[in-house]
């Protein structure tokens, strides 16, 4: 009896609550002034720059931390940041940095040479007391560093074990961002949730799966930011992210799904676009199966209608890729390279020559992943194109991490082709890790398709040791020609990263590095 | 005369409050250790009210329930509990609810086939003959064989149940309230059929009922069950004419009879004893007008009286 009475009352209450909630009074308030709300694609893993790998996390980190150097606005060239200047020894193995004076971390501790040494030792020295705050998956960026010395309070010296041209560029990468040693000592493994840097914004709050809030650092050495605060909201579902943007719940949205771009054509929104150092390609198994024959690999490059993929599937959010190096590395890119044209007849011809008509291929596709654009749709479109020239393609889709677990150890015995995308900060990284003979999976590299060309190996080694940028550029450009001809991959697309801002946001621009730099952004 | 069925110290307890491991919390004695013998060719009536343990007893006799203690002998041979086929050929059971004892999804023929096939491994042709034979014995038309149980009235269904018991070719039949679900105008049809069959096939019956008049009409001897124990056993006419146990007397006086004035035969507030918490001594003590201190100390044993009646009472009613 009691139960019934109770439930009747509860029902009334619930009804009233529902009625209240349903009344259109609760129209959403606009987002507050001077607080920029950013729709992110995922929850950050941690706010420890040494521990993360995802662009998503970098977007926050770049605003909280500074590195010794940074990319010049709108380019991928380095300029001073926490280091005001540097010297490189003749042989390219000793780098000496002069540090900026008077910079403090958000926690109040001072930035100095000791802090720099702490940062790199933490990552590189297995015996460092805070090495256990890792793992540090990208520490190999600095694997050339032999040791870090404190010369004086504001001078620090890096000694490399061999000349390593990408070193400065790597320092500008988030992995090279400088964290507060005090904060690491204080929080230990929890540092990733209690970050402290020297950047334009201070970490304020992290509400699990709701928001990461950073607030303006009034004492920023490069001038206090315009915004009071930035809120990063993880919204994994692209559709929900779009809906939030349309409903006014966020001010800035990155990685707009191509199909949704048309929604943001009006006055109220600004669509930003920026080509970056990204290449989307198909790894072809050059060790066995039909793709062992270079003609079949070239045929695949001819058969796939990249124009259609880039313009239709990706709605123009990418450009057709010509070779292994993205054009964003302007100085290293070979302008004379022309992409493989869409020529199914040529493809059929080549297949006939190679006797590979009707071959059956296994194609690894991922469901999504960092920089993978729209991998299922693209994979399906590619499958259809290859089908059209007489290749039977069976798709197997995998979740991203599983996918990496399948692809990185090599395709041998499993698949003929796999999707892959890389975003790098230096023209060296991708070819060095994924095209050299010494980078076959069994030797710890990412050359999952077993491509091997001694000439390419030689060019890459030489480029890495060269300290002169013009010389490096020449070597890379030569490499690109050879690789394009050898077609170890199908070169598909270079992503033009996009973002949408509402009309209240000003002074926002995307960077070729794909980082999100918000210190100059204004919100009205 | 030979003893067709002999029970020695047969009892059954049910656990109450089962646990996943370990012994149960308590045991309920549904049937106290009891010993009975049924002679070949006789009908032993077992009378008792609900909860007296008569159905539990019956189910033990046909092997549907394993006894907690005691033995069952048929024609001098102890029964092996393990093999239902062996059991089934010796002793059969007629259920109280004729409809629910027939599988609603089988034809009567399939139901009749089962004992012939599984107990006697009879080939199909012989089975058909045998079924025809049995059906004519129970006055059922052969066309019924291909119908389903729900198409029959209670009386017809009970005949089918009897026919199935006969098919097993057992000499002993346990009849568990075979007519209590039937209307009075039909019950006689079934009872008379049972009498015929007994005559024809030389069967031995154990006839269980709560209805004294019915038991009297069919039994040679009768056993009265109260709270899991036999309180009185003896020739039917003797037991009903001169009940010795006060409970038997109460039963006999309670049945409404045309012409007898309506009186409450006992105090109106009595209740049956609680099986979970059985009283010490005679279970009937609380309802009994003759109860003495002796009745409260120890349960009386079944003891023989002059006229072949045995009764478990310290103060049997004298004639």
């Amino acid at each position: 009896m009691k139960l019934l009475k109770l439930s009747r009352r509860a029902m009334l209450a619930a009804g009233a609550a529902t009625a209240l909630a349903l009344s259109p009074l609760s129209v959403q308030a606009q987002t507050p002034e001077d607080v920029l709300i950013v729709g992110q694609i995922a929850e950050p893993k941690a706010l420890d720059p040494a521990a993360v790998t995802a662009v998503n996390d970098f977007r926050i980190l770049m605003n909280v931390y500074d590195g010794l150097v940074r990319y010049k606005d709108g380019t991928l060239e380095v300029e001073p940041s926490l280091a005001t200047s540097w010297d490189i020894s003749e042989d390219g193995t000793v780098y000496t940095f002069s540090l900026r004076d008077g910079v403090t971390f958000h926690d109040g501790s001072a930035f100095n040479a000791d802090a720099v040494k702490f940062n790199f030792d933490r990552m590189l020295d297995e015996n460092h007391p805070y090495h256990n705050t890792g793992p540090f998956p990208l520490s190999f960026f600095f694997s050339a560093v032999e040791n870090v010395e404190v010369v004086d309070d504001l001078t620090v010296r890096f000694t490399l074990n061999a000349p390593y041209a990408p070193f400065l560029s790597n320092l500008a990468y988030p992995t090279g961002l400088i964290v507060s040693p005090d904060a690491v000592e204080q929080h230990g493994t929890e540092f990733g949730r209690n970050p402290s840097g020297t950047g334009a914004f201070k970490f304020a709050e992290w509400r699990s799966n709701e928001a990461v809030v950073i607030e303006a650092n009034a004492d920023y050495w490069d001038g206090a930011p315009e915004l009071q605060a930035v809120v990063f909201r993880p919204i994994t579902d692209a559709n929900t992210r779009t809906a939030e943007m349309l409903a006014g719940g966020i001010d800035l949205m990155v990685e707009v799904p191509p199909v949704a771009l048309s929604e943001f054509q009006g006055e109220t929104y600004t669509v930003h676009e920026q080509a970056g150092p990204h290449v989307w390609f198909l790894i072809l198994n050059a060790k066995e199966g039909p793709f062992a024959d270079v003609r079949v690999r070239q045929a695949a490059n001819y058969a796939i209608n990249k124009e259609a993929i880039v313009n239709d599937v990706l709605e123009g959010t990418a450009a057709v890729a010509a070779g292994p190096t993205p054009p964003a590395f302007a100085w290293a890119y070979n302008e004379s390279l022309e992409p493989y044209p869409y020529d199914p007849d040529k493809a059929r011809e080549l297949l006939a020559e190679a006797g590979a008509e009707g071959a059956e291929l296994t194609f690894y596709v991922t469901e999504g992943g960092s920089g993978m654009l729209d991998p299922v749709a693209m994979g399906t479109a590619i499958q259809a194109d290859l089908q059209a020239v007489g290749l039977t393609v069976n798709i197997e889709t995998y979740e991203w991490n599983t996918f990496l677990g399948e692809v990185n150890p090599g395709l041998e015995g499993k698949a003929d082709m796999a999707e892959m995308a890389w975003m790098t900060n230096d023209p060296d990284t991708l070819p060095f890790l994924a095209l050299r003979t010494a980078a076959w999976p069994d030797q710890g590299g990412f050359n999952s398709g077993y491509y091997s060309n001694p000439k390419v190996d030689e060019l890459l080694e030489a480029a890495r040791a060269a300290t002169d940028q013009a010389e490096r550029a020449r070597l890379y450009q030569e490499m690109q020609v050879i690789v394009q001809e050898d077609a170890p991959w199908v070169f598909v697309a270079n992503w033009k990263q996009n973002a949408v801002t509402s009309d209240r946001v000003e002074n926002f621009s995307l960077q070729p590095s794909f980082f999100l730099l918000l210190d100059d952004v204004v919100k009205n | 005369m030979t003893t067709a069925l002999k029970l020695t110290g047969l009892s059954k307890s049910f656990p109450v409050g089962k646990r996943l491991f370990g012994p149960p919390k308590a045991l309920v004695r549904a049937v106290q250790p009891l010993s009975l013998a049924v002679e070949a060719g006789e009908t032993l009536g077992i009378v008792g009210e609900s909860g007296c343990g008569k159905s539990t007893l019956a189910r033990m006799l046909v092997g549907l329930l394993p006894p907690s203690s005691g033995t069952i002998e048929i024609n001098g041979e102890p029964l092996d509990n393990a093999d239902p086929a062996f059991f089934g050929r010796k002793i059969q059971y007629v259920f109280q609810d004729p409809i629910s004892s027939l599988n609603p999804r089988k034809t009567i023929r399939q139901i009749m086939d089962a004992p012939l096939k599984h107990l006697h491994n009879m080939p199909a042709a012989t089975r058909a003959d045998r079924i025809r034979e049995i059906f004519s014995a129970v006055n059922l038309r052969e066309e019924f064989l291909d119908r389903y149980p729900h198409e029959f009235s209670g009386g017809q269904a009970q005949r089918i149940g009897i026919a199935r018991a006969l098919a097993a070719d057992a000499r002993i039949l346990i009849l568990d309230e075979p007519v209590s679900a039937l209307d009075v105008s039909v019950q006689a049809q079934v009872l008379n059929l049972l009498a015929d069959l007994k005559e024809r096939f030389g069967l031995t019956y154990l006839f269980i009922s709560h209805d004294l008049a019915v038991v009297e009409a069919v039994s040679d001897r009768v056993a009265v069950l109260y709270f899991g124990s036999v309180v009185e056993v003896g020739p039917a006419d003797e037991v009903f004419a001169h009940p010795k146990h006060p409970y038997t007397k109460l039963l006999a006086d309670s049945a409404p009879v045309v012409g007898r004035p309506l009186t409450a035969p006992e105090g109106r507030e009595t209740e049956l004893p609680d099986p979970l918490n059985p009283p010490a001594g005679c279970a009937f003590r609380a309802r009994c007008a003759f109860a003495s201190d002796q009745c409260g100390s120890e349960a009386p044993r079944l003891e023989g009286q002059s006229d072949g009646v045995r009764v478990a009472c310290y103060h049997p009613i004298a004639d």
């Binding site: 909630a21 308030a29 995802a54 699990s208 | -």
Partner: protein, 315 residues
């Protein structure tokens, strides 16, 4: 009653133990390993192997299980690598959100479902019955994620009555009205299917009960029909409805996974899906054991409620 509750709690122990084994074994069977996931695109087989060793994943399964179990019994659920956080902290953070969402949906579907079922049964074959039956059918036939997507499109994007996603406003007061406005759409989307199931069940349970003799007795006593339906019949019907509520609670909890994804609700269901996909083994194991334990406790509560309602159940 206390004894009964203790007994039921004790009987939950082997169930929880079994659950921990099942989840451990399934996670062990899932291909792909945390090391690959931690190292991201730059995972080389060599690094993977080293990291697995560091994480203690090279030990035999049985040993790993007992280490994990032992730690868990001491309250240490391990550390999630994908979130770089203690599993228990994260689970507790997230579970509250799921509880609010699933709890509201559960209350909603129980009340609406039972009320609809009772009305439907009381007006059997009437207009109300037909309308409810149809609505209920529609409800149980629509994929909840699809419904959620449509709701966002209509009520949040087009009409702007409700926020699109999240549980709290990003800035501004985190008060009840803010919660209600964030909660309404996801809770409704989540409740729809279960409401349908409960309504159907309540209807048939009521029809079953209404044919019972004691209903005739109540009518013969001259009890008002309203009281016959809502007091006599519903109470008796609750005996068969309550266990279904228990099962439906599980479905609501499961359905919350989709709804949390669509509405970006910071709940534990979405966390677990992400964790499974990321092979964040400790997070999955800890989270699932926690959720399952809560569900088992909830079911014990259901049993207790049942025993309070039905005096025939031996306690």
């Amino acid at each position: 009653m206390t004894g009964y509750i203790l007994k039921r709690l004790a009987s939950a122990i082997p169930v929880l133990f079994g659950i921990s084994i099942i989840v451990f074994v399934i996670m062990a069977l899932i291909p792909g390993d945390p090391a690959t996931a931690i190292l991201g695109s730059y995972a080389t087989p060599e690094n993977v192997e080293k990291l697995n060793r560091d994480l203690g994943l090279d030990k035999p399964m049985v040993q790993r299980y007992f280490i994990w179990l032992g730690n868990m019994l001491q309250g240490d659920f391990g550390r999630s690598f994908s979130l770089n956080r203690a599993v228990l902290d994260e689970v507790l953070d997230r579970f509250g959100a799921t509880l609010i969402l699933a709890g509201t949906a559960f209350v909603l579907c129980s009340l609406l479902g039972i009320a609809a079922g009772v009305v439907s049964a009381a007006r059997q074959y009437g207009l109300a019955d037909k309308a409810i039956t149809f609505a209920v059918l529609l409800g149980i036939s629509i994929p909840s994620f699809f419904l959620g997507m449509m709701m966002i499109l209509i009520f949040a994007v087009k009409l702007r009555w409700f926020p699109v996603s999240g549980m709290w406003p990003i800035y501004g007061a985190r008060d009840l009205s803010a919660l209600i406005s964030h909660l309404t759409l996801p809770a409704l989307a989540l409740a729809v299917v279960a409401t349908g199931v409960i309504a159907r069940l309540s209807r048939s349970a009521m029809l079953e009960v209404l044919r019972q003799d004691f209903i005739r007795t109540a009518r013969a006593k001259g009890v008002h029909e309203r009281s016959v339906i809502w007091r006599h019949a519903l109470r008796a019907a609750m005996v068969s409805i309550i266990p279904v509520l228990g099962v439906q609670a599980g479905f609501v909890l499961s359905g919350a996974v989709y709804i949390e994804m669509v509405f970006q609700w910071p709940g534990v269901g979405r966390m677990l899906v992400d964790a499974i996909l990321k092979r964040d083994i400790l997070l999955v194991q800890g989270g699932v054991v926690f959720v399952a334990a809560c569900y088992v406790m909830f079911n014990i509560a259901v049993d207790v409620a049942q025993s309070l309602l039905d005096p025939r159940i031996k306690t």
